[in-house]
Each structure stands twice: as structure tokens, then as C-alpha cells.
């Protein structure tokens, strides 16, 4: 919101500076829209390093959730990490054709269900995740149908589930 009380101060600025110093050139974009909100995008190759730095060095121990978003040809995965009141969103894009990312469950065990959710809905493979079995979707869900992809409109999903004879 627009009021001045929302200007980034103290802890938020400190984290921002730490990020610039430590990750520097690996950061594609760094945004601090207001106090206690940070958005940082990194290359896929630098993702694991960034995740380790944030969780180990900057002590972001809590993961609020993981958002998956279909970004035309690319799949964006956003890790919403939290420390105290500061919510940091670590963004990384992977090609939708080959959507793989290393798991963060070894760094934050609380991420286990969130990774499964993104795997269900957008087909991102999390390497070394202990169990990527369906969490939300039914066991007999057709392969290759990822409901949150833009190409899978509600109508198209309905048709697919109704079976070929009703197409």
C-alpha cells in the first residue's frame, strides 16, 4: 500500500544488501515493493546456491508455500520463504519441456507437500524429492494433464476426463 510506513527499513534493507553482495551477478531481478516484501529472481543454474544461502546463512527457516506459474514456454517456480515478518520470494524459471529443479526438502523439510503440489499441477520434477506421488490429483488422473497450465482450459480438462467417445 502507498503509505510511507511501508517503506523498506531495517531488516528488509539488510537482507537486500546481503543478497546483492553475496549473489551479485547471479541475480536477474531484485524487487523490494514495500517493507518486509522481497522478490528475487535467479538463473536455474544458480538456484540451489541461492536456496542454500538463504536458508543456511540468512536463516530463512520457514517456507510459506511454493507457487508454480505457467509463463508461456517457461514454468516459473516461486519459493515464498519467511524469516520473522520478512517474506522473500525466490523466483526461478525452467523450460516447461524439461521442467526439473533440485528439491529443497533437505534444506527445509516443510517444503515436502508444496513441491508435490507443484509437481501435480504443473509437472515440475523435483530431483531427490522423497515421494512425488499424487497429492491433490486422483490416482487415475490422465498423464500429461497439468491443470494449472494455460493450455489446459477447464473445458479441455472436462473433455479429456469424459473420455475419447464424448469428444
Amino acid at each position: 500500500m502507498a503509505d510511507t510506513a511501508q517503506k523498506p527499513t531495517g531488516e528488509t534493507v539488510e537482507i537486500e544488501e546481503n543478497l546483492k553482495e553475496k549473489l551479485g551477478s547471479k541475480i536477474l531481478e531484485l524487487k523490494v515493493p514495500r517493507n518486509r516484501r522481497i522478490f528475487v529472481s535467479v538463473e536455474k543454474t544458480a538456484f540451489r546456491e541461492a536456496a542454500e544461502y538463504l536458508t543456511k546463512n540468512l536463516e530463512f527457516k520457514h517456507i510459506s508455500t511454493i507457487t508454480g506459474r505457467d509463463a508461456v514456454g517457461q514454468t516459473e517456480v516461486i519459493y515464498h520463504l519467511n524469516r520473522g515478518g520478512v517474506e522473500l520470494s525466490l523466483k526461478v524459471q525452467v523450460p516447461s519441456e524439461e521442467a526439473t529443479l533440485p528439491t529443497v526438502t533437505d534444506l527445509i523439510p516443510g517444503a515436502i507437500l508444496y513441491e508435490r503440489e507443484v509437481h501435480d499441477l504443473l509437472g515440475v520434477e523435483f530431483k531427490d524429492h522423497p515421494d512425488l506421488s499424487p497429492l491433490i490429483l486422483p490416482d487415475d488422473w490422465p498423464k500429461g494433464v497439468y491443470p494449472l497450465k494455460k493450455e489446459w482450459t477447464t473445458e479441455k480438462i472436462r473433455q479429456k476426463l469424459a473420455g475419447p467417445e464424448e469428444k
Binding site: A2, H62, S64, T67, R69, E87, P109, L135
Partner: protein
Amino acid sequence: MSEATFQVPVGPQHPALKEAPENFMFSIDGETVVDVKARIGYNHRGIEKAAESRSYIQNIYLVERVCGICSIAHVATYTPAVEEALNLEIPPRAKYIRTIIYELNRIASHYLWLGLAGHEIGFDTLFMYLWRDREIALNILEQITGNRVTYAAFTIGGVRRDISSEMAEKAKNGLSILEERMKYYKKLCLNEPTVLKRAVGVGILKPQDAITLCAVGPLLRASGVKSDVRADDPYLVYDEVPFYVVTYGGCDVASRVLVRCDETLVSIGIIKHALDRLPESPIRVKAPRIVPPAEVVSRTEAPRGELIYYLRSNGTDKPDRLKIRTPTLANIPSVCKSLIGGYLADIPIVLAAADPCFTCTDRMAFVNVSNGKRWVWTHEQLRRYSMKWHQQN
């Protein structure tokens, strides 16, 4: 799975709450739970997908239906996200009214939960009393918003209904009764042998596990961890009203009961304070229908814990992506952890103690680890087993 364990599937009828199906696969060794696996999704309604094809205004009413108990929490997290993307400041009176309605919703939710906890341990008198008193909170909400469940009170840019001074007086009278009653229930929970026997030392979740598994809300605070979005990341007028974060160190069901008792009292204090200081201003500002490209993370402390929305707008009247993470999903790994090592008969109350709300997120099957025998129980069967077991032991 060793030869000595027995698998018990529980669900998809919820072991504690009737409205929502999910499945827990319990591995048991005699009476002791050795492993739990949760399976959700039986009620997945595709709300995030639906939100992408609705306008921002339509989405207010969609997200309000994510949860029937804490509907306000969803709207109160969604609307600020849109307002932040619009760079829109809502009038101070609207902020106060939103806070009042949010806290009333928390009171109604905590009263509901305490009643259900009573029911789970076979103390139905407590259930009846609490649900009777909960009506007071619902009546206040009905008076203010016109509705008892989905309130439709918020809109982008403010609130839709004002609180008159008469309404405020009536609300305060109701709150005084709720306060007195909750103090009595807290005393009762601390002294009543039925409650103590079923709650103390049951469903242990150590603080370290709660943090590692990213627990949220009363479940986390009952493990002694001071974490509350209202205090850590203040929104609305939580940086103006006096309140404190309730924590208990028992790490068990009893602490979870007490956290909610005290939180109800804290909420009553917040509402009374806010009702006395309602600033004079309009209650809403006009908001544009088209939202410029932006991305916003909005968090609030729902009755069940941290609720987070991620919104990405694309310059149209519909969101590009709306991600919702409800507190129940966040608490599943911790609840599974707190069930391990406990008794089969304690499953209903431990599950209920996290106040899971699977309409927000999403039955039970059992497997005996000694002979691999499987059977399915409904919640009612499990609850009856639980009460019988506790009478005999």
C-alpha cells in the same frame, strides 16, 4: 514396513470433522501409531484455476467460499493483495471495520473448534455449551454484515457496510458475555479430569519439529514458538491496537486448547478497543476494475494460522495467477509427526487439535503391521472406539 506393523486406513471421511474428506494411512504396532501418510485432494475444487477466468470482483466471492469457517480470512487476504497491486490505500475506518470482522470470525472459529474438541473426547456437554455461546458471535456478525457464514462484507477499496454506534454497543454487550464464558471454559479445561486425561501429554509436537516442518498458527504457538503474522508482519490496524501473542509450552493437545482460549480473549480485547476508536472516514474508495501488471504476496493470521496469497496481475480485469496456501496444508506434516508414537485411540483428538479444515485443503484406513490386515473406519467408528478404549484403560 516391518512384519510387526499393521496398516489402518482412516478416511476419506474425516476422522474429526464431518464436512471434509481426506485419507490417513496409519501404520500401527499394537495400539501405537508408528507411521502416518496423508492423502488429500478428495475435495479439490480447482479454485486457483477458476480464479484465472473470473474478474477481480467475482473472485472476492469465490475466495470467500474457500472455507466456510474462516471465510473472512480469505477475503481479508485477497482484497489487500488486489489493493496493493492497484496501489490503493483504503480509508482508516474500513481498516478498523475489517479488523473487527476478522477478529469476530476468529472468535466464532475458536468457539467452534473448542466445541468440536469437546465432542472428540466424548464431552458433548462442553460441545453443546460452546456452540450455544458461539451463536452470540454469529449474531454480532449477522448484525454487522447481514450474514452468518459467508459475510460478503469486504470489497476492493474498503468494506460494504458501516458499523453504527448502536451496533457497536450491542456488539460490546455480546463480547462481554463471550469473555465471561470463555474465562469459565478455560478454568474448566484446566480443572476438568476428562479434559486433562485426554489432552495432557497427548499429541506431542516438539518446538524444533514444529519449526522444521513449518507449522503455523495455534499449533505452532502451543509448542512455545512465538509466531503470529499479526505481530510479525502487521496488516490492517494490528500495529495500532494493543494485543499480545499467546504461547504455551506444553507441546500437547492441552496447550492447543489453552492457546485458543486465550486467543479468543485477546480477540475480544482487540474488538472492544477498535469499536471505541472507530475513526470517522468513508468506508470505501472506488477501485479501478483493471489491475496493472504487478506481483503481490499477501499474508494474514487466519484462525488456523498463516494464510498466504500470491497474486500476479497482467493488466486485465482477471488475475494471471492467484495462489492460495491455507494453514491446514502447512500443518499436515506437523500433525503427522505429532500422531507418531501416540495411541490409535488418540487419533481423533490429535487430528482435531490442529483444527484442520479440509474444505480449505481436503477419511481413514488402517493397516495392522503384524499381519498386514487392512480395514477402513469412518470417523464415527474411530471416535466410538476411542471413547471405549479410554473407558477401559
